[in-house]
């Protein structure tokens, strides 16, 4: 028989033993994950949105017990959409002990940071940037589908919807890598489809007066315009085209679909505006995980950000998936907060080396170029609901993806 004192001692011992793993887990230092986003300036409409998705993912991972007993800690740096600042932020994050870096946003920044990631042996994962051919395996991979698959997929559906388009004008941001690369891809697509390019207009990221470009384009009388530039840059051009009475279809690449602001501000100028993307805020009957994400993300961003409402979910699933992908790799490699940063980075690199596909909210196929692929579709602006919606009905959408080589 136990007396009262023995019973209390045994109970206390059991309680301590039972909670020992939890106590150890709580004591483990966090795993530092860096992110580089534009949180101020012209790119803030993107950065604030993606930051909300990253934070939601980190919170979800931590709520589920973290990674091998360690919580994830998100270290956020603001590059103001300046590639040279991205470099400084990247070095800073490495110095702070981040084991992986997520971002930066634009093609120019990614093109600049990717080689440094390899030189510093620090894994970096980009979840946006649309210029093709600039990822640099093994350390710098991009989860997002670049424009060399997105544009052919989007243009194919655009031509299906507008078969009478024969003459086009191409406009874009010649200063930003993704903008310039998008213009080249539009020109390539036009050649392949036998479309005549009757006008080309290039401008720079911070251009504000688009009247000369709009006059030039309108004067050439194209059947449609293909535009490649970031949302804040494209918006005044689209508005100027409306002011000058241009009412033909306008196709913008995915730079406009992503981020906040464009769809909320385009108003009546958006009545003939299309973009390219792989999701909308609408329910996807085939993907309950996505529907749950959309519901939670919209709810969460109502209170945690000052973004225009209803928030544009667009490709925010990619930063979310990226955090879970990294957490999976770290879990499998046995990384926790006590793992030295250099060793953890090497283990993450090894995990990325073998990655051929990832099923998160999105099904991402990895290409031999170090980029991701997700099948994109044509989206149309709805000025009333301030949302992007699929331009074609599900049975009308083109299912065949653009040609690409998957990782062997």
């Amino acid at each position: 028989m136990f007396d009262r004192r023995q019973l209390l001692a045994s109970t206390a011992a059991l309680a301590v033993a039972g909670h020992a793993p939890l106590a150890l887990a709580a004591d483990k230092p966090p795993i530092k994950v860096g992110s580089i986003l534009a949180m101020t300036g012209i790119g803030a409409v993107y950065g604030i949105l993606y930051n909300a998705a990253l934070k939601m993912a980190v919170d979800d991972v931590n709520a589920a017990g973290g990674v091998n007993g360690s919580k994830l800690e998100l270290l956020q740096e603001d590059d103001q959409l300046q590639p040279s600042q991205s470099v400084l932020c990247f070095r800073k994050l490495a110095g702070m002990g981040a084991v992986v870096e997520l971002g930066p946003l634009t093609g120019t920044s990614w093109e600049t940071v990717a080689p440094i990631a390899n030189a510093m042996k620090m894994p970096a994962l980009c979840f946006t940037a649309s210029k093709a051919g600039i990822s640099a395996p093994p350390y710098a991979l991009r989860i997002a589908p670049p424009d060399d698959t997105a544009i052919p997929e989007g243009v194919a559906e655009f031509m299906k919807l507008h078969p009478n388009v024969k003459k086009i004008a191409i406009a874009g941001d010649a200063q930003e890598a993704s903008g310039a690369a998008g213009m080249e891809l539009f020109a390539k697509m036009a050649k392949e489809l036998g479309l005549e390019v009757v006008a080309t207009a290039s401008y720079q990221t911070r251009t504000s007066d688009f009247s000369p470009d709009a006059i030039k384009i309108r004067g050439a009388n194209p059947d449609a315009i293909f535009i490649s530039s970031l949302g804040p840059t494209s918006l005044p051009l689209v508005k100027e085209l409306e002011v000058q009475g241009f009412d033909k279809p306008i196709l913008l690449n995915s730079l406009v679909w992503a981020g906040a602001g464009f769809i909320h501000a385009v108003g009546t100028a958006g009545k003939n505006v299309y973009t390219i993307g792989f999701s909308t805020n609408d329910v996807d009957p085939a993907n309950p995980k996505y529907n749950d994400y959309v519901k939670r993300f919209i709810e969460r961003t109502k209170t945690t950000t000052n973004l225009p409402q209803p928030v544009n979910v667009c490709n925010t699933t990619l930063p979310y998936d990226t955090v879970f992908l990294v957490a999976d790799i770290m879990r499998k490699a046995g990384i926790d907060g006590t793992t030295p940063a250099d060793k953890a980075r090497e283990l993450i690199r090894a995990g990325l080396d073998g990655l051929k596909a990832y099923q998160g909210i999105n099904k991402i196929t990895l290409r031999d170029t170090g980029d991701g692929h997700i099948k994109c579709h044509l989206l149309k602006a709805n000025a009333q609901t301030k949302q992007w919606e699929y331009a074609l009905a599900p049975d009308q959408r083109i299912k065949t993806p653009a040609a690409f080589k998957a990782r062997g």
């Binding site: 590639p83 040279s84 991205s86 470099v87 400084l88 070095r91 800073k92 110095g95 120019t108 093109e111 600049t112 080689p115 440094i116 030189a119 010649a174 200063q175 930003e176 890598a177 310039a180 720079q204």
Partner: protein, 275 residues
């Protein structure tokens, strides 16, 4: 202080000295941002596209830009005062526009891939240039430059080759700005023409004016204060430019000759002082 801030302070000191050297002969240049761009791009092309050694690329960029500076200086220095300032402002715009329209170096998109600069390179160069300027400040050459700066006609009547001294100072200043540019591009990895706009030239002149134009330590103080000050008031966020502007105005009112306005004694000054 972070490594990046240390680096930027160092580059700004070199840039301030590049203006100071030109100012030694009485000329004020607002083209040094342009010369910095020439050096940054030239060194970048040499290392990234031609595969040249980093140090050789820096030296070539410095010498090449120095020669360009000398060529430009010869006609430009025929103008005086505000006209010379306008000519150098024009030079700055011409260089920026030329780079924007040169596809070989990326045009408006910019150029990437330059790596290799460390703080040791920047601060090592500061030490070397600092020793050189200290030697200069103690030399007879400094007195000739003082004479040219104070009154060119009197200097010429004393047998000083005014044009030669002015062109050499302009070329050396341009060369130093170019080397600073080369170091900058190989630290920042990415550059585009916007990094070298007219405001860079204006800021660099401000470093010298606020620090003091009478000795080579003034530009060091000016560049350091003006680089570090915005970081110290980072917490003020959008009010930073306002505070920065107010500090500049206050400094100009309180210390019109710069923070350090004393003159260093030149070689042999004690003999004449005692005579």
């Amino acid at each position: 202080m972070s490594q990046d801030l240390l680096f930027l302070t160092g580059v700004n000191i070199l840039m301030a000295w590049s203006v100071y050297i030109i100012l030694l002969s009485g000329s004020l240049s607002f083209a040094n941002g342009g010369f910095m761009a020439l050096g940054a791009y030239a060194a970048g092309v040499l290392t990234v596209k031609w595969g040249m050694n980093f140090y050789a690329a820096l030296a070539l960029a410095g010498i090449g830009t120095g020669l360009v500076g000398a060529l430009l200086a010869y006609p430009a220095l025929r103008t005086r005062g505000v006209y010379l300032i306008l000519v150098t402002v024009g030079l700055s715009f011409i260089i920026q526009t030329l780079i924007q329209n040169t596809d070989y170096v990326g045009g408006v998109r910019g150029m990437t891939g330059m790596m290799g600069t460390t703080n040791w390179h920047v601060w090592g160069l500061i030490a070397i240039v600092g020793v050189g300027l200290f030697w200069l400040s103690r030399s007879h050459l400094q007195r000739q430059l003082d004479a040219v700066r104070e009154d060119e006609r009197v200097a010429a009547s004393l047998g000083i080759d005014v044009v030669y001294l002015k062109v050499v100072c302009f070329a050396v200043g341009a060369g130093l700005a170019a080397i600073a540019g080369g170091l900058y591009s190989h630290y920042m990895v990415f550059i585009n023409p916007d990094h070298f706009n007219i405001f860079v030239s204006i800021y660099v002149v401000l470093y010298v004016v606020l620090g003091g134009v009478n000795n080579f330590i003034g530009p060091v103080i000016g560049a350091s204060v003006m680089t570090l000050l915005p970081e110290l008031v980072r917490g003020l966020q959008s009010y930073r430019p306002l505070i920065f502007g107010v500090v500049i105005i206050v400094l100009l009112l309180v210390r019109p000759n710069g923070l350090l306005s004393f003159r260093l004694r030149t070689l042999g000054a004690h003999k004449e002082g005692g005579a």
